[in-house]
Amino acid sequence: MMLLKILFRNAFHNKLRSGLTILGITVAILAFGLLRTVISAWYAGVEAASASRLVTRNAISIIFPLPLAYNEKIRQIEGVKQVSYGNWFGGIYINEKNFFPNFCVEPRTYMAIYPEFVLDHAQQKAFFADRKGFVAGRKLAARFGWKIGDTVTLKGTIYPGNWDFVLRGLYRGRDETIDESQFLFHWDYLNETMKKASPGRADQVGFYMISVARPDLSPEVALAVDRTFKNTLAETLTETEKAFNQGFIAMSGAIVTAIQMVSFVVILIIMAVVANTMAMTTRERIGDYAIMKTMGFGGGAIAFMIFGESLVIALTGCIAGMILTFPAAAAFGDSLSNYFPIFLVSDETLWLDLLAALLIAFCAAIIPTRHAIRVGIADGLRRIG
């Protein structure tokens, strides 16, 4: 008990130094937390994907389309509950900075396959009825101030021209992990226009979304779909939505790895800072330790004191950093909502914060402790200041 009291007193003996160190740890934990959150935001699409949905695309690569005729063939495959299809539109709203995902889809089946997109019944009806209509996520509409009935024009990059759409509905996510920044419109609108403008590109589908009756049927259905179209001009590649989204992330894997590495580097940097503080503290207190040794305290007690002090400093900083992570993530998420629609601090991140703080505390205390234990009583007493 006595030791514990000394330990706390020691930790805040040099207020300036402890304060600075704690500030440093706070900043480091904050940075670490934010970086982990960026990484989990990257994977948000994978987390939100359902295991009972499959995506079928052209086996060559995502830029090649599939014929519309595959729709009926896929529907005949056993285990398939529902099929929808769509294209990546790649339209630009005013300028390239206003990026958001925009797809054209077959609306009735698509909304049925995606129950996590909650759309008001009346709005849904209005959307289905208007071929030039579109639905937008709540966040997306708020970002540009769109209201129901507004006309929005996108400039096509893949499909040339200016395309007018009328906002017919706003969808909400079923929970906060659902992306509320998508733009969905009628596949028929695109197709009818392409029939007129460039008939060669009509009746082409970018991807099929398949919902299977039971999640455990997914692998068999995926194989069956690919087998059906083997040795055709447009062979297919079918995978679960999770794997499909994962594939996108794997492409930018180098960047994710870099962020991950950097998030560990910040821990190393702060470890050097804390270790420095502890080294100085113990150097100043060598005399104290020598007196304690003279009074009969063993190496264990001294180690306990140094480790304890290091822990007190690291944990204080860690808790402050963890508390600050939430408002910081909220501010960060707001300004980056175009890139990361979902930006939430996960429990895992908080546990990792704590783990990092413990690691910092222990690593920082090792060398000073060894030094304090080894130093002879006479040597320690001789040293002044």
Binding site: A31, I62, K155, I158, P160, G247, M251
Partner: protein, 391 residues
């Protein structure tokens, strides 16, 4: 009279453990700072070197990259006649009609099934070779026109499976044999696969070209060629210098890397500055008696301030040098990732140049300065009597 620099250096040497820890903290920050700048620089350099200044790329208006573009044969034939095009050795115009598509290939080393990435397949004509002097065959032979043969860039040959010499690729119900590997140096072409344009178009059932490339007869006549193409009512096309075209493709990614890197290093530098501050404060606290003695000997407050600032600048300098030293080894590393803008794989090297070295050293010295300024003031403002009494 100034306090000799050796005093500051000796002090750092005296407290080696503390100095090493502070310097290594700073070095890590500097390392991250330099590495990010090097990465953005490398990406940009690769894409800039891909283009040649006197080449012009023509593609469909509004499309952001060649992959999205489409030029039908009729329009291509009109552009082919552009009077500003250079004449090649055989007396023919140096114009190449190309098609660019993406194929998904499995990455090497990754065991997971979904670890595919998009690789550019470029269908080229005979003229494409003199238009791209960077491209040199390193092994095997050139593909024969009119056959299902391809040559592969060395970054792709290294990074992906099944594309080595004599490997076969399957698309469009055909087998394509890799007959050669080419090296295009530090350019985007090293991340591409080349085949005969007519064969590629046929196999992918894509009846349109993606882009037209021609060399200008006179590098200054670009504006004339651009106006001719963009104002022709029969054409819905856009022309850019090849250098400009590739620079535009690197913009978003390079900006993303820079913003990410700078915000990270600013946060990190707070940690390193605090480290330097702690070190310097304790250096001052341990030496109160010494400072008093020096003041009593007649050294001015200015000199004391300068000595402590010099000490912390030395810390910054050491940190910067150590960080840069480690970062310079990053030049041997090649990163291969998907460029968001073109959605295709691109390999590039970390590139270190003089501006980056200067920026990094300046950054590191500023960190040292900020960390040292408060402690140095504290040291210089001590009263002689009190300081002497303290020891």
């Amino acid at each position: 009279m100034a306090i000799p620099l050796a005093y500051s250096m000796r002090n750092l040497w005296k407290r080696r453990l503390t100095t090493t820890l502070t310097v290594s903290g700073m070095a890590l920050v500097v390392f991250v700072f330099a590495a990010v700048l090097m990465m953005a620089e490398g990406l940009q350099k690769t894409l800039v070197e891909t283009g040649s200044y006197d080449n012009v790329v023509v593609f469909r208006k509004g499309s952001a990259s060649e992959v999205m573009s489409g030029i039908d044969r009729q329009q291509a034939a009109i552009v082919e006649m552009v009077p500003q095009a250079a004449i090649g050795p055989a007396g023919r115009r140096l114009v190449a009609k190309e098609v660019v598509v993406l194929i998904a290939l499995p990455k090497q080393g990754a065991g997971k099934a979904s670890s595919h990435s998009n690789v550019v397949v470029r269908g080229v004509q005979e003229n494409s070779i003199p238009l791209r002097p960077q491209v040199k065959l390193v092994s095997g032979r050139m593909f024969r026109m009119g056959s299902s043969e391809v040559i592969v860039g060395n970054s792709i040959a290294k990074g992906f499976t099944g594309v080595g010499l004599q490997g076969t690729l399957n698309w469009g119900m055909r087998h394509w044999t890799v007959v050669g590997i080419f090296d295009a140096g530090n350019t985007g072409f090293s991340s591409e696969i080349w085949g005969d344009v007519d064969q590629v178009m046929q196999a992918f059932r894509r009846p349109v070209y993606s882009s037209l490339i021609f060399k200008l007869r006179d590098p200054g006549s670009f504006e004339a060629a651009k106006t001719a193409i963009e104002t022709d009512p029969r054409l819905t096309l856009e022309a850019k210098r090849e250098t400009r075209y590739y620079l535009d493709q690197s913009e978003m990614m390079a900006k993303f890397l820079r913003i990410l890197g700078l915000s990270l290093t600013i946060i990190f530098s707070i940690g390193a500055i605090i480290g330097a501050m702690i070190t310097m404060y304790s250096a001052v606290a341990n030496r109160i008696g010494e400072i008093g003695t020096m003041r009593a000997l007649g050294f001015r407050r200015r000199s004391i301030l300068a000595a402590f600032l010099a000490e912390s600048l030395l810390l910054g300098c050491l940190g910067g040098a150590a960080g840069l030293f480690c970062a310079s080894f990053m030049q041997f590393i090649t990163v291969s990732t998907v460029n968001f803008q073109t959605f295709s794989e691109l390999a590039f090297k970390f590139t270190l140049n003089v501006p980056i070295v200067m920026q990094t050293m300046a950054f590191s010295l500023v960190m040292g300065l900020i960390g040292g300024v408060l402690p140095a003031f504290r040291a210089s403002r001590m009263k002689i009597v009190e300081a002497l009494r303290a020891s």
